[in-house]
Structure formats: C-alpha cells, structure tokens
Symmetry: C2
C-alpha cells in the first residue's frame, strides 16, 4: 500500500488500506450524509461530489451521487460489492501520494477545507437503516464456557451446535451507534431457584448487566423470498461490511425469561455498534481459519475454503466513572466456528428474505484462554463468582452505573492498519418506573 498525502498516525485504524464508510453530520450541515474515515479526518463524500467533477474518479456508476447524499449507507450498500470495490479503490487513489488523481483534492485548498474534516468536528450516526437484526452464537469458546457453566462439561454444547450456526432474531429498534448512553434495564428477576414450587420474581434494575464482544456484518443486496443464498455466493453477492457490536445483556433478566422461546428483554434494551463500516474488501488480506469443526457438514454449509473468517484483534476496555481504564479482554475474531457466509446460507436455507441493511451478529467471541480472552463478564467472572480486577484497587463482577465499555478491533501492521475505531457505551442509571 502506498502512503497518503494526508497526515496519518502510523497506529491509526483508518490507514489508506481501510477506507471505512459512515454517516456524519456537522454543526454547519446537520443533514446526515456519507463519509469515509482517513487517519484522524473524514472525507465528506457529499461535499466532494458537490464540489468536484468526479466522473473521472468514479466512472460509470449509476446512482452513486444520490447514494452518497443519503442519510444512511443503504443506497450505497445496495449498489453491490463490485461498486464498493471500485469506489474504495478510487478513494485510495484520490488520497494516495502521487497517483493519477491525487492532485484533485490534495492541491485544491478550498475543496479540502469543505470536504476533509477533522473527526472531532463531525457527529457520527447509525450507518445503516437496519431492517432485521439476527444474532448468532458462533463464538465456539464462548458457547463452550457458557454451556459448561449452566449444563456442566458433558453437556456444554447442545446437540445441534456443531451442525448449524445457531442464531435467533434480535431487536433492530434497539441498535444504537457508539457513544449513545445505555440505560440499565429494569426487568423481572428471579433470585431463587426457578424450579422451586412457587417462584416469586421481583422487578428491579438488572444486577447482572453485561457486555458481549461481537463482530457485526451488514447485508448489501437482498435475496428473493423463498430462495436460499448459496454459501459460495454470500460473500461477493450479499456482504457489505463489518462493524464491532456490543450486545449488552442483562443476565438475570435473561435467565428467568428465556424458556422456552429464547432471550427477549434481557437483550432488547440496547446493542451498540461502531460507526464505521469496514468494507468486506478491506478485510480480505486478513483471512484466517476459524475453529476446526470435525462434523461432516451438509453441502449448503461447505465453503470450500479454509479461511472463511478473519483474524481481527479484538479488545475490551472498561472505564470506571472515575476515568480509570483497564483492558479486561483481548482475543481474535478467528475464534468463530462459523463464517458469515455460512450464517447467511443457513439463515436463508428455508427462504428467509434478507434485505439491504440487515445486521448479523457473530455471537460473543472469546478465546480459549479463559478470563483475559473472554468477550463477556459472564465468562470472566464465572457468572459473578469471581471478580475481574481493574487498575488500582477496583474490581467488577458485572457493570456499575457510570462504567463505560469500549470495544476495539484492528488488523494489520502500522501504517497499514485496518480497524474499526471505537464501539463505546456508558451505563446510565435505571429509569424510575412502576414495578
């Protein structure tokens, strides 16, 4: 990768090798619109399109200009991966040193002034209009650890787990962008054994508020209802890009409510995503093998490649109300049993329609190494039985009001890092409601 004429910190997630897409607004123009991140700046693509003749940069793409002025990335995503590839390459050309088009922006001070803005000057918005949100459970070590905790080592994995990507439908309306405060949910909670003859749940703010470290995948183009997406066509035909996803969970609420139909209020109060969508092509150099699955898979799940997932370094920081930050977890997205193409193929096997902007979560990602590699406090603390030590003398089992969780994810070496920026949320106190 050549270097950029934009001054980029070598450790930046937003190197020239990345070019992630997001939705910004500014104090001067509060209309949400499309931008890409580059170093500590963003390039406002609506402003670029309005102030420069881009026909040479983006030749022959129908519908691109309106897509770049949209308040979400859906219209751009819908153009399909070959267009995303072409536009990303053109923007790399524009931002690189000494290429065919580098003079267009580099040497036009007025245009730079309008279109190249410091990230501190822009407000980030939810990047996509999300139709449906599905959360999978593909983090193998997480599934094993949680299964062992609740069902013992011999029954840790349910019989279906190695045969299909287990998933469930989440709540699209509760997905928020990084930085949005997350209110501690009130819920029905059973303190005693649920099998006692007369359970008496209480209604209270969750005492087991947790985070979940996940990778999210946005869908680009829809399938027709009733038509499955083949696993080999999912990536090129239907994947737009990736975000970090924190699927906040109220473990005590979930434990009481979830039989027999799955998680509900324990999950639907909020899920936070990072604001920049890293395009599928930007992650291609970082492919890796996932967790080995010795099960003989049905044909519709056979990818015919050994590198269906990505080796993205993932980190979880907990920042206390006092401002002290501790990295409590560090792992990799390679610890997935199923790839997103496999998830998509399974999701649509029965004909379920995907739409542009649908979000798929990987499920919590944990490494095999226990506490420090875990993607949830449930695992780190063995459901509250032991504490996670923080910087200084502080410690946690679950989250306190005022705590912030920041997820980070990146791959690649310095000067060429492809990262997600931050996925951050701070816990606000529970609402006063009738209980």
């Amino acid at each position: 990768m050549s270097s950029s004429w934009v001054d980029i910190d070598p450790a930046s997630d937003f190197s020239l090798a990345n070019i992630p897409f997001g939705i910004i607004s500014t104090a001067e123009d509060q209309t949400p619109r499309v931008a890409v991140a580059i170093g500590s700046h963003v390039l406002d693509l609506k402003a670029l399109a309005a102030n420069a003749n881009l026909a040479a940069l983006f030749p022959g793409i129908d519908g691109l200009t309106p897509a770049l002025s949209s308040p979400s990335l859906n219209a751009f995503a819908q153009l399909g991966r070959p267009v995303h590839r072409q536009v990303r390459a053109a923007l790399q050309d524009l931002l690189a040193t000494n290429t065919q088009h580098s003079a267009l922006l580099r040497d036009n001070a007025a245009l730079r002034q309008r279109a190249l803005l410091p990230q501190t000057a822009v407000q980030m918005h939810l990047p996509m209009e999300i139709g449906d949100y599905t959360d999978f459970y593909a983090g193998y070590h997480h599934a094993v650890a949680v299964g062992r905790m609740f069902r013992g080592a011999d029954n840790a994995l349910q019989p279906n787990y190695l045969h299909l990507p287990v998933g469930y439908h989440g709540r699209a309306s509760s997905i928020v962008v990084s930085g949005t405060p997350v209110r501690r949910p009130v819920g029905q909670i059973l303190l005693a054994d649920p099998k006692m003859p007369a359970p008496m749940p209480e209604v209270a703010p969750s005492r087991k508020l947790d985070m979940e470290l996940e990778l999210g995948c946005f869908i680009s183009r829809p399938n027709a209802m009733g038509e499955a997406i083949a696993v080999g066509e999912a990536d090129e035909g239907h994947v737009f890009g990736y975000v970090l996803l924190n699927d906040w969970s109220a473990r005590d609420v979930q434990m009481w409510e979830y039989v027999p139909l799955g998680p509900f209020n324990g999950k639907n109060f909020a899920s936070t995503i990072s604001p920049w969508v890293v395009l599928a092509d930007a992650l291609e150099p970082f492919r890796a093998g996932g967790v080995e699955n010795r099960t003989v898979l049905h044909e519709y799940l056979r990818e015919g490649r050994e590198d269906g997932v990505f080796d993205i370094t993932l980190e979880v920081d907990l920042t206390t109300a006092e401002g002290d930050t501790t990295t409590i977890g560090r792992t990799s997205s390679k610890h997935l049993l199923w790839s997103f193409p496999q998830m998509i193929a399974h999701h649509t096997l029965g004909g379920c329609p995907m739409r542009t902007g649908d979000l798929l979560g990987s499920g919590t990602i944990s490494g095999p190494g226990g506490q420090g590699e875990s993607g949830s406090l449930l695992e780190m603390t063995e459901n509250g039985r032991k504490e996670v030590l923080l910087r200084g003398t502080d410690a946690r089992t679950f989250l306190r009001d005022g705590d912030s969780i920041t997820l980070r994810g990146f791959c690649g070496a310095e000067n060429g890092r492809v990262g997600f920026g931050e996925c951050r949320g701070k816990i606000a106190g529970a609402a006063q409601t009738r209980r």
Copy 2:
C-alpha cells in the same frame, strides 16, 4: 349503529361499525394508497381527498392528507388514536344514511365512481411498513397443550409463564399480506432422538409444515428508548389496530434448531397477515375477560380492568388443492392469558423502543376444548399422531403442497359485524436448493 347508503351484505365483516384501514392499488393507479373497507367495496381515501373538499369532514387534523396518500399506514398510525377515532367517526358519518355529511359522497356520482371501488377491483398490499415483529405466547390453552405434549402434564407450563408474557423476536422481513404464496421451507431436520450420541440431521423440505392462528397488533406511536410504557397508557397511546396473523411454522425444523436461543428458520420463512387493520376503537364493544390468572402480578402488569382482551370468533379453514374446504378449528381470542397492553408494558419494561408499525403477535390461540378448538395442527394432530379428518375421505396431519389455510375473525351480530376478512396462504412446493 345506523345503516349505510352503501349496499352491505348483512353478514359482511365490513359493516358501518367497522371501517378498517388498508393499502390498495388498482390497475388504473398502481401507486399504493390508503383505503377503508365498506361491505364489498373499498373507499379510496386518496381519491376522496383529491376530489372533494374534506375540511368539513376532517376538521383540524394536521398531516392527514399526506398520510392518506402514503404507501403504508405508518403515517396515519403515527397521528395517534384520537385522530384515528375522529377519522373513523367522520367516515361512518359520510357512509351512513341521512347524516350531516352523507350527501357528500352519496349524491356525487362522479366522486363515487372514482373513490368507491369494488373490492374485486383492488389489489391489497402489506398495510404497514413493519420495523420489528415480536411474537408472544399468550394463548393459554395452546401453551398448556404444547407443553404437555413435550414436557408432560406436570411441567406443561414453564415457571415464568404465569408471571410475564413470554415472547420472542420474530423476522419482520418475512411478513406477507394475505394471498401471497408460502413456499415450503427446506431445513435441517433430525429424524432420530436429538439426545443420541451422534445426531445426523438431514436437510430436506419440512414434513411438519403447520399454521398458527394468532391475533396481531400494530403499534401507533413510539416510546422513547429507555422509557417503559405504562400498562394503562398502552391502549390509548400506542395501539393502532389489529389483524389476523398466521405464523407458519416448520415443526421439524424448529424442534432441532431451537435450543438454546429459540425458534429461527422454523418460523422466518413466512408469516401472513390479513390486509385490513381493524382500528382499536372498532373492537371496543367486544371486550371480554381473558383466561383467569391467579398469580399475583407485579404492578407494571396490573391493568385494573377485567376485560383486557376481545371476544373475537376465530376460524381456520383448510382448502385442499382440489378445492374442498373444511373448517378445522373454531375458537375465540378471549382465550389469551395476557392482553396486548400487558404485552406492551412487559416488552418495554427494560426500555425497549417501540416504533410506529411494529407488529406484536398474540401467540397461537386455542380454546380449552381440544382438536376442534385448536389454533395449530401440532395440537389438533398431537404432533402428527392422529389425523384431522377433512370433508370427504381426505385427512391431514400437517400441510401438503397445494393446501390453503384461511383464517377468519369477526365479532358482533349481522348488520353490525366487525371482522377482518380473510388471512389466506397457499403452500407452494419447496425450492430446489443445494442441501
């Protein structure tokens, strides 16, 4: 209720007491737009608004004219229940014999020609743009029957069932309007006992394709994220209206996939709703007590009324490919343990945001009387162990390709019936996919 100058069959679901809202298009004008049903006709409200001065009929409602030209009912729903009440009353006035405004349409042949159309001349569309779809499990006799089947009589109900309205998130993208063909889903199916040491699922078209008789409720106005909706404010503040809902289910797919996170591909291939939204006010005269719950409820679920549900007669017809129709189930929506306001209060307890157009399903509604009162073939056939006899010599355990299921629902006496029309779907053969 006074009578109408429109010729209405006494048995029509769409009496003057009803006035349900839907989205139509015609061969002449293929733009979807708002209409109401009256007898065997529809009144095109966009055409009405364009061709008559309606200020006298609908005084002082901001945003009504654009809402009536919208391709979904969301904009109208968002205006709130006091507006829905006023508009419905005004339309009843317009369509009734000898009222203040009856001359406006009755005596204007050109306007009648443009706006009052036979139902046979219009195409019905999905009435709402559905953000999220949640399916509850509030049909008490269904939950008991299914629980008994899979867990025995002593453990039929899970410990949480009487304490909170159990529900899960469904798939909004798979909701279709009555008349849309439903393709038999392909899925992973385990024929043997899932607890055997090495389960070997097959991938095949579902052999246990079922229907579920439900009532659906559309949300009118949103709540702020983090703020619960009080049970006493849900009905007036957040309920738009009701439809019939057939939540098609592939029982064999569901059985293998659903642990530990709930139903997924067994449900997300299609759910069918009736096209006309019966406004909340139209059902008010038909309130009834639901199934008695002796559990001491938490305050947030206490409605302070004994008639939180409706006594709507519900019927299920099965029509074979040969065209023979048998009514296989007949029950009432009063067999719900939880009312929709209770479901809404519980859904938002932790702060989950509802949006205009969100759909809540009641869960399958069955009566206490066994086979003929059941809302699913799972119950009628005891999971395929006994047959449901059809007219002639035919019989079913689950649905065959070419079968149609038609749900009907209505209340009130002749000349004043408030009904839903049909909620119909015909089973098409499975897709040929890689398995």
